[in-house]
Amino acid sequence: MTIASTTEQICFVLLAATLVLGSLGVVLLENIVYSAFLLGGVFLSVAGLYLLLNASFVAAAQVLVYVGAVNVLILFAIMLVNKKESLASIPSLLSRRLLSGAVCLGLFGLLLRVAFTTAWPLPGPTPIGEEATFRIGEHFFSDYLLPFELASVLLLMAMIGAIVLARRDVFASDVITGEPADQGLIEKARTPLLTDRSKQPTAP
C-alpha cells in the first residue's frame, strides 16, 4: 500500500494501541461477553496491521475467518455455557498471577532482545504490493500444493470431529452389535456422569 510514512506511522500507533488495550481487556475483564467482543476488535486491528503490511488478501481472510467465524463461534459457546457460577477461591492465586506475570515479562524481554539484536537482512526486496494475491495463488498451486490439499482434509476432519463431539443425540441402537442403546442413560444427559463426587468414597 502506498501511503505517506506519517500516515502509516499514525495508523500503526492507533492499531497497536487498539490491539494491546483490546487484548488486555480480553484477558483481564471479568465479564466474558465483553472479552469476546473485544477479541473481535483485536482481530479487526490485526487485519488493519496486515493492510499496512501490503497483504490485502490475508487481511480479508482474517476478517472473514476470525471475525466472521471464530469470534461468532466463541460467542455461541459463551451463550451455551454462560451459567453464573461462583468460582471457588484458590489459596495461592495472587502469587500464581505474579509468578506467571514475571515469566511473561521475562519472555517479552527475551523476544525484544532477539528482535533488536539480530541483524535482519534489511532492506529486503521491494514488496510486490497488490500482486500478492496472484503470488499466493501461484504458491498454492505449485510449491505449497500438498499443504494446501492437506489443509482441506484437516478442515473436513475438524468439522466431523466437532460434530461428533458436540452432538447430544446418539443412535438408538449400538452400531456394532445392533443392541438397543440404554435410552435412559442417554436422556439423563442433564445429570452429569462426572460431576465432583468427592463426598463419596470412590472405588479403587
Partner: protein
C-alpha cells in the same frame, strides 16, 4: 522519532511479542475455559503478525510468510471448532467451565 521514515520491522516484532506474552499470561491465569481458547487465538495472531512482518520486510518478492499465515489461519479455525466442541462436551459432563475443576487426570 523520525516521522518521515516507514514503520520499522522491530515495531511489528515488539507488538507481536507483547501480544504473545499477554496471550500466555491469559492462558495460564484464566479460570474460564472459553477465555483460555481466546488466549490461544491471541497467541496465534501474534505469530501471524510476525510472519506477515517478515514476509513484507525480508521476503517481499516471494511472500512465503503470507502463505504460512493463511495456513495458520486455517489451522486456527479448525482448532477453535474442535476446542469449543470439547468445551461443550466437558460442560455437559461436569456442568462447569472452571479450569480448576477439570482435574480428573491430575495425579
Amino acid at each position: 522519532m523520525d516521522l518521515t521514515a516507514p514503520v520499522p520491522l522491530q515495531a511489528f516484532l515488539t507488538l507481536a511479542a507483547l501480544l504473545f506474552c499477554i496471550g500466555v499470561w491469559g492462558l495460564i491465569n484464566s479460570r474460564n475455559a472459553v477465555r483460555v481458547l481466546m488466549s490461544i487465538e491471541l497467541m496465534l495472531n501474534a505469530v501471524n503478525i510476525n510472519l506477515m512482518a517478515f514476509s513484507n520486510y525480508v521476503d517481499g518478492e516471494l511472500i512465503r510468510g503470507q502463505v504460512f499465515a493463511i495456513f495458520v489461519i486455517t489451522v486456527a479455525a479448525a482448532e477453535a471448532a474442535v476446542g469449543l466442541a470439547i468445551l461443550l462436551s466437558l460442560y455437559r459432563n461436569r456442568e462447569t467451565v472452571d479450569m480448576e475443576r477439570f482435574n480428573l487426570l491430575r495425579w
